[in-house]
Symmetry: C2
Subunit: 223 residues, 2 copies
DNA sequence: AAATATTTTTAGACAAGCCTAAATTATGTA
DNA sequence: TACATAATTTAGGCTTGTCTAAAAATATTT
Protein backbone atom coordinates (compact mmCIF):
# COMPACT_ATOMS: atom_id res chain seq x y z
CA UNK A 1 0.00 0.00 0.00
CA UNK A 2 1.15 3.50 -0.75
CA UNK A 3 -0.52 5.25 2.21
CA UNK A 4 1.84 6.74 4.73
CA UNK A 5 -0.07 5.50 7.77
CA UNK A 6 -2.32 2.61 7.03
CA UNK A 7 -3.91 0.40 9.57
CA UNK A 8 -6.14 -2.53 8.79
CA UNK A 9 -9.82 -2.66 9.73
CA UNK A 10 -8.97 -5.27 12.37
CA UNK A 11 -6.21 -3.14 13.89
CA UNK A 12 -8.45 -0.08 14.09
CA UNK A 13 -11.23 -2.14 15.65
CA UNK A 14 -8.91 -3.49 18.31
CA UNK A 15 -7.56 -0.04 19.12
CA UNK A 16 -11.09 1.36 19.33
CA UNK A 17 -12.20 -1.46 21.62
CA UNK A 18 -9.17 -1.08 23.90
CA UNK A 19 -9.73 2.67 24.03
CA UNK A 20 -13.37 2.19 24.99
CA UNK A 21 -12.49 -0.29 27.72
CA UNK A 22 -9.70 1.87 29.08
CA UNK A 23 -12.15 4.75 29.48
CA UNK A 24 -14.39 2.59 31.68
CA UNK A 25 -11.62 1.60 34.05
CA UNK A 26 -8.22 3.04 34.94
CA UNK A 27 -6.63 -0.40 35.07
CA UNK A 28 -4.90 -2.12 32.18
CA UNK A 29 -7.35 -3.71 29.74
CA UNK A 30 -7.62 -7.51 29.95
CA UNK A 31 -7.48 -9.94 27.06
CA UNK A 32 -10.88 -11.38 27.88
CA UNK A 33 -12.56 -7.99 28.04
CA UNK A 34 -11.34 -7.26 24.52
CA UNK A 35 -12.41 -10.70 23.30
CA UNK A 36 -15.91 -10.18 24.75
CA UNK A 37 -16.33 -6.75 23.22
CA UNK A 38 -15.09 -7.82 19.79
CA UNK A 39 -16.93 -11.14 19.87
CA UNK A 40 -13.78 -13.08 19.26
CA UNK A 41 -11.56 -15.53 21.16
CA UNK A 42 -8.89 -14.72 23.73
CA UNK A 43 -6.25 -16.47 21.64
CA UNK A 44 -7.00 -14.19 18.68
CA UNK A 45 -6.70 -11.18 20.95
CA UNK A 46 -3.29 -12.29 22.19
CA UNK A 47 -2.11 -12.62 18.57
CA UNK A 48 -3.27 -9.15 17.63
CA UNK A 49 -1.99 -7.59 20.86
CA UNK A 50 1.50 -8.78 19.98
CA UNK A 51 1.28 -7.20 16.55
CA UNK A 52 0.02 -3.91 17.94
CA UNK A 53 2.72 -4.01 20.59
CA UNK A 54 5.40 -4.53 17.91
CA UNK A 55 4.02 -1.46 16.15
CA UNK A 56 4.23 0.54 19.40
CA UNK A 57 0.50 1.16 19.47
CA UNK A 58 0.14 -0.29 22.96
CA UNK A 59 2.16 -1.44 25.95
CA UNK A 60 1.87 -5.13 26.67
CA UNK A 61 3.18 -7.24 29.50
CA UNK A 62 2.30 -10.92 29.37
CA UNK A 63 -0.61 -11.79 31.65
CA UNK A 64 -0.89 -8.13 32.74
CA UNK A 65 -3.22 -6.68 30.12
CA UNK A 66 -2.57 -3.75 27.77
CA UNK A 67 -2.52 0.04 27.74
CA UNK A 68 -2.59 2.21 24.62
CA UNK A 69 0.41 4.38 23.82
CA UNK A 70 -0.21 7.97 22.72
CA UNK A 71 0.10 6.82 19.12
CA UNK A 72 -2.43 4.03 19.66
CA UNK A 73 -4.83 6.31 21.49
CA UNK A 74 -4.59 8.87 18.68
CA UNK A 75 -5.65 6.29 16.10
CA UNK A 76 -8.46 5.04 18.34
CA UNK A 77 -9.83 8.54 18.84
CA UNK A 78 -9.56 9.32 15.13
CA UNK A 79 -11.59 6.19 14.43
CA UNK A 80 -14.22 7.19 16.97
CA UNK A 81 -14.32 10.67 15.42
CA UNK A 82 -14.92 9.20 11.98
CA UNK A 83 -17.54 6.79 13.29
CA UNK A 84 -19.54 9.52 14.98
CA UNK A 85 -19.28 11.96 12.08
CA UNK A 86 -20.57 9.28 9.70
CA UNK A 87 -23.41 8.56 12.12
CA UNK A 88 -24.36 12.24 11.95
CA UNK A 89 -24.30 12.09 8.17
CA UNK A 90 -26.50 9.00 8.07
CA UNK A 91 -28.95 10.43 10.59
CA UNK A 92 -29.10 14.10 9.59
CA UNK A 93 -28.66 13.85 5.83
CA UNK A 94 -29.79 10.39 4.80
CA UNK A 95 -32.58 10.21 7.40
CA UNK A 96 -31.65 6.88 8.89
CA UNK A 97 -33.10 6.10 12.32
CA UNK A 98 -30.78 6.41 15.32
CA UNK A 99 -31.11 2.65 15.75
CA UNK A 100 -29.77 2.03 12.21
CA UNK A 101 -26.68 4.21 11.97
CA UNK A 102 -24.19 2.25 14.07
CA UNK A 103 -23.73 -0.77 11.83
CA UNK A 104 -23.09 1.24 8.69
CA UNK A 105 -20.80 3.70 10.50
CA UNK A 106 -18.86 0.68 11.70
CA UNK A 107 -17.86 0.18 8.06
CA UNK A 108 -17.51 3.82 7.05
CA UNK A 109 -15.15 4.64 9.95
CA UNK A 110 -12.38 2.71 8.19
CA UNK A 111 -12.34 4.79 5.00
CA UNK A 112 -8.85 6.23 4.67
CA UNK A 113 -8.66 9.94 3.82
CA UNK A 114 -7.91 12.73 6.20
CA UNK A 115 -9.36 15.33 3.84
CA UNK A 116 -12.58 13.35 3.64
CA UNK A 117 -13.08 13.54 7.39
CA UNK A 118 -12.44 17.28 7.44
CA UNK A 119 -14.77 17.95 4.54
CA UNK A 120 -17.46 15.76 6.05
CA UNK A 121 -17.10 17.63 9.36
CA UNK A 122 -17.53 20.94 7.53
CA UNK A 123 -20.46 19.66 5.47
CA UNK A 124 -22.23 18.63 8.66
CA UNK A 125 -21.43 22.06 10.14
CA UNK A 126 -19.08 20.78 12.82
CA UNK A 127 -21.44 18.72 14.94
CA UNK A 128 -20.44 18.22 18.59
CA UNK A 129 -22.50 15.11 19.34
CA UNK A 130 -23.63 12.08 17.38
CA UNK A 131 -27.28 10.92 17.15
CA UNK A 132 -26.95 9.05 20.46
CA UNK A 133 -25.55 12.05 22.32
CA UNK A 134 -21.95 10.86 22.34
CA UNK A 135 -19.38 13.65 21.92
CA UNK A 136 -17.46 13.86 18.64
CA UNK A 137 -13.70 14.09 19.24
CA UNK A 138 -12.12 17.20 17.73
CA UNK A 139 -9.57 17.16 14.92
CA UNK A 140 -6.97 17.75 17.62
CA UNK A 141 -7.97 14.51 19.35
CA UNK A 142 -9.65 16.19 22.31
CA UNK A 143 -12.81 14.48 23.53
CA UNK A 144 -15.08 16.78 25.52
CA UNK A 145 -16.47 15.17 28.65
CA UNK A 146 -20.23 15.52 28.77
CA UNK A 147 -21.71 16.27 32.18
CA UNK A 148 -24.91 14.37 31.60
CA UNK A 149 -26.65 12.60 34.47
CA UNK A 150 -28.75 9.47 34.49
CA UNK A 151 -32.47 10.11 34.21
CA UNK A 152 -32.85 7.69 37.12
CA UNK A 153 -30.91 10.16 39.28
CA UNK A 154 -32.80 13.30 38.31
CA UNK A 155 -34.29 15.14 41.29
CA UNK A 156 -38.05 15.31 41.77
CA UNK A 157 -39.81 18.06 39.78
CA UNK A 158 -36.55 19.08 38.09
CA UNK A 159 -36.64 19.74 34.37
CA UNK A 160 -33.93 18.47 32.04
CA UNK A 161 -33.18 17.82 28.36
CA UNK A 162 -32.89 14.35 26.82
CA UNK A 163 -29.20 14.22 25.92
CA UNK A 164 -28.02 10.67 25.33
CA UNK A 165 -28.21 6.95 26.01
CA UNK A 166 -26.07 4.47 27.89
CA UNK A 167 -27.37 1.38 26.12
CA UNK A 168 -26.84 1.78 22.36
CA UNK A 169 -28.63 -1.40 21.30
CA UNK A 170 -31.21 -1.27 18.52
CA UNK A 171 -33.80 -2.85 20.78
CA UNK A 172 -33.47 -0.11 23.37
CA UNK A 173 -33.37 2.70 20.81
CA UNK A 174 -36.46 1.32 19.08
CA UNK A 175 -38.23 1.16 22.43
CA UNK A 176 -37.46 4.85 22.97
CA UNK A 177 -38.75 5.54 19.45
CA UNK A 178 -42.05 3.93 20.38
CA UNK A 179 -42.29 6.10 23.49
CA UNK A 180 -41.40 9.12 21.31
CA UNK A 181 -38.43 9.88 23.48
CA UNK A 182 -35.90 11.68 21.29
CA UNK A 183 -32.79 13.72 21.99
CA UNK A 184 -33.49 17.36 22.73
CA UNK A 185 -36.95 17.05 24.23
CA UNK A 186 -37.66 18.34 27.70
CA UNK A 187 -38.34 15.90 30.51
CA UNK A 188 -39.58 16.58 34.03
CA UNK A 189 -39.48 14.07 36.85
CA UNK A 190 -43.02 13.93 38.21
CA UNK A 191 -42.82 11.01 40.59
CA UNK A 192 -40.36 8.43 41.84
CA UNK A 193 -41.53 5.06 43.08
CA UNK A 194 -39.20 4.18 45.93
CA UNK A 195 -40.24 0.54 45.88
CA UNK A 196 -38.93 -0.47 42.44
CA UNK A 197 -37.13 2.69 41.42
CA UNK A 198 -39.49 3.27 38.50
CA UNK A 199 -40.32 6.85 37.60
CA UNK A 200 -43.08 8.98 36.13
CA UNK A 201 -41.97 11.66 33.70
CA UNK A 202 -43.67 14.44 31.80
CA UNK A 203 -42.57 14.90 28.17
CA UNK A 204 -44.33 17.19 25.71
CA UNK A 205 -48.01 16.74 26.60
CA UNK A 206 -47.62 13.15 27.79
CA UNK A 207 -46.94 11.46 31.09
CA UNK A 208 -44.83 8.29 30.86
CA UNK A 209 -43.99 5.57 33.33
CA UNK A 210 -40.46 4.20 32.98
CA UNK A 211 -38.84 1.26 34.77
CA UNK A 212 -35.62 1.92 36.68
CA UNK A 213 -33.86 -0.28 34.08
CA UNK A 214 -34.87 2.10 31.31
CA UNK A 215 -34.28 5.28 33.32
CA UNK A 216 -30.74 4.10 34.10
CA UNK A 217 -29.98 3.97 30.40
CA UNK A 218 -31.10 7.48 29.57
CA UNK A 219 -28.84 10.50 29.96
CA UNK A 220 -30.17 14.01 30.54
CA UNK A 221 -28.63 17.45 30.71
CA UNK A 222 -29.77 19.79 33.48
CA UNK A 223 -31.23 23.07 32.27
CA UNK B 1 -20.99 -13.34 8.51
CA UNK B 2 -24.67 -12.71 8.90
CA UNK B 3 -25.21 -10.87 5.61
CA UNK B 4 -27.25 -12.70 3.02
CA UNK B 5 -24.99 -11.84 0.10
CA UNK B 6 -21.51 -10.78 1.07
CA UNK B 7 -18.60 -10.48 -1.23
CA UNK B 8 -15.10 -9.43 -0.25
CA UNK B 9 -13.48 -6.24 -1.46
CA UNK B 10 -11.16 -8.33 -3.63
CA UNK B 11 -14.04 -10.25 -5.20
CA UNK B 12 -15.95 -7.06 -6.00
CA UNK B 13 -12.83 -5.50 -7.48
CA UNK B 14 -12.23 -8.49 -9.73
CA UNK B 15 -15.85 -8.52 -10.89
CA UNK B 16 -15.75 -4.79 -11.60
CA UNK B 17 -12.51 -5.14 -13.55
CA UNK B 18 -13.82 -8.05 -15.60
CA UNK B 19 -17.03 -6.14 -16.30
CA UNK B 20 -15.07 -3.12 -17.46
CA UNK B 21 -12.87 -5.20 -19.76
CA UNK B 22 -15.83 -7.12 -21.16
CA UNK B 23 -17.46 -3.83 -22.15
CA UNK B 24 -14.40 -2.87 -24.22
CA UNK B 25 -14.34 -6.08 -26.18
CA UNK B 26 -16.92 -8.76 -26.97
CA UNK B 27 -14.36 -11.54 -26.50
CA UNK B 28 -13.74 -13.42 -23.27
CA UNK B 29 -11.54 -11.47 -20.86
CA UNK B 30 -7.95 -12.68 -20.57
CA UNK B 31 -6.05 -13.36 -17.37
CA UNK B 32 -3.31 -10.89 -18.25
CA UNK B 33 -5.75 -8.10 -19.00
CA UNK B 34 -7.23 -8.49 -15.53
CA UNK B 35 -3.80 -8.63 -13.95
CA UNK B 36 -2.76 -5.43 -15.74
CA UNK B 37 -5.90 -3.54 -14.73
CA UNK B 38 -5.73 -4.64 -11.10
CA UNK B 39 -1.96 -4.22 -10.87
CA UNK B 40 -1.45 -7.77 -9.76
CA UNK B 41 0.10 -10.98 -11.12
CA UNK B 42 -1.43 -13.44 -13.56
CA UNK B 43 -1.06 -16.26 -11.02
CA UNK B 44 -3.13 -14.34 -8.48
CA UNK B 45 -5.79 -13.76 -11.11
CA UNK B 46 -6.00 -17.45 -11.93
CA UNK B 47 -6.49 -18.21 -8.23
CA UNK B 48 -9.31 -15.70 -7.84
CA UNK B 49 -10.94 -16.70 -11.12
CA UNK B 50 -11.29 -20.24 -9.81
CA UNK B 51 -12.99 -19.02 -6.65
CA UNK B 52 -15.39 -16.79 -8.58
CA UNK B 53 -16.11 -19.63 -10.96
CA UNK B 54 -16.92 -21.94 -8.02
CA UNK B 55 -19.37 -19.30 -6.82
CA UNK B 56 -20.99 -19.17 -10.28
CA UNK B 57 -20.07 -15.52 -10.74
CA UNK B 58 -18.27 -16.19 -14.01
CA UNK B 59 -17.72 -18.85 -16.63
CA UNK B 60 -14.18 -20.06 -16.87
CA UNK B 61 -12.47 -22.42 -19.26
CA UNK B 62 -8.77 -22.99 -18.75
CA UNK B 63 -6.64 -20.94 -21.12
CA UNK B 64 -9.79 -19.46 -22.69
CA UNK B 65 -10.44 -16.44 -20.48
CA UNK B 66 -13.59 -15.61 -18.50
CA UNK B 67 -17.09 -14.24 -18.99
CA UNK B 68 -19.34 -12.95 -16.21
CA UNK B 69 -22.57 -14.79 -15.47
CA UNK B 70 -25.72 -12.72 -14.95
CA UNK B 71 -25.13 -12.98 -11.22
CA UNK B 72 -21.54 -11.77 -11.55
CA UNK B 73 -22.53 -8.95 -13.87
CA UNK B 74 -25.21 -7.84 -11.43
CA UNK B 75 -22.69 -7.51 -8.61
CA UNK B 76 -20.23 -5.69 -10.88
CA UNK B 77 -22.87 -3.18 -11.97
CA UNK B 78 -24.04 -2.65 -8.40
CA UNK B 79 -20.45 -1.87 -7.45
CA UNK B 80 -20.11 0.58 -10.33
CA UNK B 81 -23.40 2.18 -9.29
CA UNK B 82 -22.16 2.64 -5.74
CA UNK B 83 -18.80 3.96 -6.94
CA UNK B 84 -20.38 6.61 -9.14
CA UNK B 85 -22.99 7.66 -6.59
CA UNK B 86 -20.26 8.16 -4.00
CA UNK B 87 -18.27 10.17 -6.55
CA UNK B 88 -21.30 12.44 -6.95
CA UNK B 89 -21.53 12.82 -3.20
CA UNK B 90 -17.87 13.71 -2.87
CA UNK B 91 -18.01 16.15 -5.77
CA UNK B 92 -21.41 17.78 -5.28
CA UNK B 93 -21.71 17.80 -1.52
CA UNK B 94 -18.18 17.68 -0.12
CA UNK B 95 -16.71 19.83 -2.90
CA UNK B 96 -13.85 17.55 -3.86
CA UNK B 97 -12.26 18.15 -7.26
CA UNK B 98 -13.17 15.73 -10.04
CA UNK B 99 -9.55 14.56 -9.98
CA UNK B 100 -9.81 13.57 -6.30
CA UNK B 101 -13.03 11.57 -6.09
CA UNK B 102 -12.01 8.28 -7.68
CA UNK B 103 -9.62 7.01 -5.02
CA UNK B 104 -12.00 7.60 -2.14
CA UNK B 105 -14.98 6.18 -4.04
CA UNK B 106 -12.84 3.10 -4.66
CA UNK B 107 -13.09 2.48 -0.92
CA UNK B 108 -16.67 3.66 -0.38
CA UNK B 109 -18.06 1.42 -3.13
CA UNK B 110 -17.53 -1.62 -0.88
CA UNK B 111 -19.75 -0.46 1.98
CA UNK B 112 -22.45 -3.07 2.40
CA UNK B 113 -25.99 -1.76 2.77
CA UNK B 114 -28.61 -1.73 0.09
CA UNK B 115 -30.72 0.86 1.86
CA UNK B 116 -27.65 3.11 2.13
CA UNK B 117 -27.28 3.18 -1.64
CA UNK B 118 -30.95 3.98 -2.14
CA UNK B 119 -30.93 6.74 0.45
CA UNK B 120 -27.74 8.19 -1.00
CA UNK B 121 -29.29 8.14 -4.48
CA UNK B 122 -32.34 10.00 -3.17
CA UNK B 123 -30.22 12.48 -1.20
CA UNK B 124 -28.30 13.29 -4.38
CA UNK B 125 -31.63 13.67 -6.23
CA UNK B 126 -31.12 10.68 -8.51
CA UNK B 127 -28.10 11.80 -10.54
CA UNK B 128 -27.69 10.20 -13.97
CA UNK B 129 -23.98 10.85 -14.46
CA UNK B 130 -20.92 10.98 -12.22
CA UNK B 131 -18.48 13.94 -12.14
CA UNK B 132 -16.59 12.50 -15.14
CA UNK B 133 -19.71 12.10 -17.26
CA UNK B 134 -20.01 8.34 -16.81
CA UNK B 135 -23.58 7.08 -16.54
CA UNK B 136 -24.83 5.84 -13.18
CA UNK B 137 -26.43 2.40 -13.48
CA UNK B 138 -30.03 2.30 -12.27
CA UNK B 139 -31.24 0.31 -9.27
CA UNK B 140 -32.55 -2.22 -11.80
CA UNK B 141 -29.02 -2.71 -13.16
CA UNK B 142 -29.63 -0.93 -16.44
CA UNK B 143 -26.73 1.17 -17.68
CA UNK B 144 -27.77 3.84 -20.15
CA UNK B 145 -25.46 4.10 -23.15
CA UNK B 146 -24.30 7.66 -23.63
CA UNK B 147 -24.13 8.84 -27.24
CA UNK B 148 -21.20 11.12 -26.68
CA UNK B 149 -18.63 11.70 -29.42
CA UNK B 150 -14.93 12.44 -29.20
CA UNK B 151 -14.12 16.14 -29.33
CA UNK B 152 -11.46 15.20 -31.89
CA UNK B 153 -14.27 14.06 -34.21
CA UNK B 154 -16.53 17.09 -33.85
CA UNK B 155 -17.36 18.73 -37.16
CA UNK B 156 -16.02 22.18 -37.98
CA UNK B 157 -18.05 25.09 -36.56
CA UNK B 158 -20.42 22.70 -34.76
CA UNK B 159 -21.35 23.51 -31.17
CA UNK B 160 -21.44 20.87 -28.45
CA UNK B 161 -21.46 20.44 -24.68
CA UNK B 162 -18.55 19.09 -22.66
CA UNK B 163 -19.95 15.77 -21.43
CA UNK B 164 -17.19 13.43 -20.26
CA UNK B 165 -13.64 12.14 -20.43
CA UNK B 166 -12.00 9.00 -21.75
CA UNK B 167 -8.83 9.30 -19.70
CA UNK B 168 -9.76 9.44 -16.00
CA UNK B 169 -6.25 10.04 -14.68
CA UNK B 170 -5.66 12.83 -12.17
CA UNK B 171 -2.97 14.32 -14.40
CA UNK B 172 -5.38 14.69 -17.30
CA UNK B 173 -8.24 15.99 -15.16
CA UNK B 174 -5.96 18.54 -13.53
CA UNK B 175 -4.80 19.69 -16.96
CA UNK B 176 -8.42 20.27 -17.95
CA UNK B 177 -8.92 22.16 -14.67
CA UNK B 178 -6.07 24.47 -15.65
CA UNK B 179 -7.67 25.09 -19.03
CA UNK B 180 -11.00 25.69 -17.24
CA UNK B 181 -12.63 22.95 -19.24
CA UNK B 182 -15.47 21.59 -17.09
CA UNK B 183 -18.47 19.40 -17.79
CA UNK B 184 -21.47 21.29 -19.09
CA UNK B 185 -19.71 24.16 -20.83
CA UNK B 186 -20.28 24.83 -24.49
CA UNK B 187 -17.52 24.17 -26.99
CA UNK B 188 -17.33 25.10 -30.67
CA UNK B 189 -14.78 23.69 -33.08
CA UNK B 190 -13.17 26.71 -34.72
CA UNK B 191 -10.34 25.10 -36.62
CA UNK B 192 -8.79 21.73 -37.30
CA UNK B 193 -5.14 21.41 -38.17
CA UNK B 194 -4.95 18.54 -40.65
CA UNK B 195 -1.19 18.15 -40.18
CA UNK B 196 -1.10 17.04 -36.52
CA UNK B 197 -4.80 16.72 -35.82
CA UNK B 198 -4.72 19.48 -33.23
CA UNK B 199 -7.78 21.70 -32.90
CA UNK B 200 -8.81 25.21 -31.99
CA UNK B 201 -11.92 25.52 -29.85
CA UNK B 202 -14.00 28.36 -28.52
CA UNK B 203 -15.18 28.00 -24.91
CA UNK B 204 -16.88 30.77 -22.94
CA UNK B 205 -14.95 33.86 -24.04
CA UNK B 206 -11.69 32.03 -24.70
CA UNK B 207 -10.08 30.34 -27.67
CA UNK B 208 -8.00 27.27 -26.84
CA UNK B 209 -5.58 25.17 -28.82
CA UNK B 210 -5.73 21.44 -27.98
CA UNK B 211 -3.48 18.63 -29.20
CA UNK B 212 -5.14 15.66 -30.88
CA UNK B 213 -4.03 13.58 -27.87
CA UNK B 214 -6.11 15.77 -25.57
CA UNK B 215 -9.06 16.12 -27.94
CA UNK B 216 -9.28 12.33 -28.24
CA UNK B 217 -9.78 12.08 -24.50
CA UNK B 218 -12.67 14.52 -24.27
CA UNK B 219 -16.28 13.52 -24.89
CA UNK B 220 -18.93 15.97 -26.05
CA UNK B 221 -22.67 15.80 -26.55
CA UNK B 222 -24.12 17.37 -29.70
CA UNK B 223 -26.65 20.09 -29.03
C1' DA C 1 5.34 -27.84 -39.71
C1' DA C 2 8.83 -26.84 -36.42
C1' DA C 3 10.80 -23.55 -33.45
C1' DT C 4 10.13 -19.73 -30.63
C1' DA C 5 7.63 -16.56 -27.87
C1' DT C 6 3.79 -15.51 -25.10
C1' DT C 7 0.17 -16.58 -22.06
C1' DT C 8 -1.68 -19.18 -18.54
C1' DT C 9 -1.62 -22.46 -14.96
C1' DT C 10 0.43 -25.10 -11.19
C1' DA C 11 3.21 -25.69 -7.12
C1' DG C 12 4.77 -24.05 -3.08
C1' DA C 13 5.33 -20.21 0.10
C1' DC C 14 3.91 -16.27 2.93
C1' DA C 15 1.23 -12.72 5.93
C1' DA C 16 -3.07 -11.49 8.15
C1' DG C 17 -6.53 -12.86 11.04
C1' DC C 18 -9.03 -16.13 12.89
C1' DC C 19 -9.89 -20.79 15.24
C1' DT C 20 -9.42 -25.09 18.82
C1' DA C 21 -7.00 -27.57 22.19
C1' DA C 22 -3.46 -27.82 25.41
C1' DA C 23 -0.16 -25.69 28.47
C1' DT C 24 0.97 -22.07 31.55
C1' DT C 25 0.29 -18.38 34.88
C1' DA C 26 -2.56 -15.91 38.15
C1' DT C 27 -6.09 -15.78 41.51
C1' DG C 28 -9.23 -17.23 45.12
C1' DT C 29 -10.31 -20.33 48.67
C1' DA C 30 -10.13 -24.07 52.07
C1' DT D 1 -0.02 -23.08 52.04
C1' DA D 2 -1.87 -25.98 48.71
C1' DC D 3 -5.49 -26.78 45.66
C1' DA D 4 -8.96 -25.51 42.41
C1' DT D 5 -10.57 -22.30 39.16
C1' DA D 6 -10.14 -18.68 35.96
C1' DA D 7 -7.44 -16.06 32.72
C1' DT D 8 -3.95 -16.03 29.39
C1' DT D 9 -0.69 -17.74 26.24
C1' DT D 10 1.27 -21.20 23.07
C1' DA D 11 1.07 -24.51 19.42
C1' DG D 12 -0.71 -25.83 15.39
C1' DG D 13 -4.15 -25.36 11.79
C1' DC D 14 -7.40 -22.96 8.50
C1' DT D 15 -8.90 -19.42 4.84
C1' DT D 16 -8.14 -15.43 1.96
C1' DG D 17 -5.38 -13.25 -1.07
C1' DT D 18 -1.08 -12.48 -2.53
C1' DC D 19 3.63 -13.76 -4.49
C1' DT D 20 7.73 -16.28 -7.32
C1' DA D 21 9.42 -19.85 -10.10
C1' DA D 22 8.59 -23.50 -13.02
C1' DA D 23 5.65 -26.19 -16.07
C1' DA D 24 2.20 -26.49 -19.57
C1' DA D 25 -0.64 -24.78 -23.18
C1' DT D 26 -1.42 -21.62 -26.85
C1' DA D 27 0.09 -18.31 -30.49
C1' DT D 28 3.29 -16.61 -33.67
C1' DT D 29 7.03 -16.73 -36.72
C1' DT D 30 10.08 -18.64 -39.91
Amino acid sequence: MYFCSMYTFAEENYLKAIYKLSELDTQAVSTNAIADLLQTKAASVTDMIKKLSDKRLLKYEKYKGVELTDKGKKIAIETVRKHRLWECFLYDKLKFGWDEVHEIAEQLEHIQSEVLVDKLDEFLEFPTHDPHGDPIPGKNGIVKKTNFILLSELELDKKAIMAGVVDHSSVFLQYLNKLEITLGIQVQLVERNEYDGSIEIQIQRKKLHLSKEVAKNILVKLK
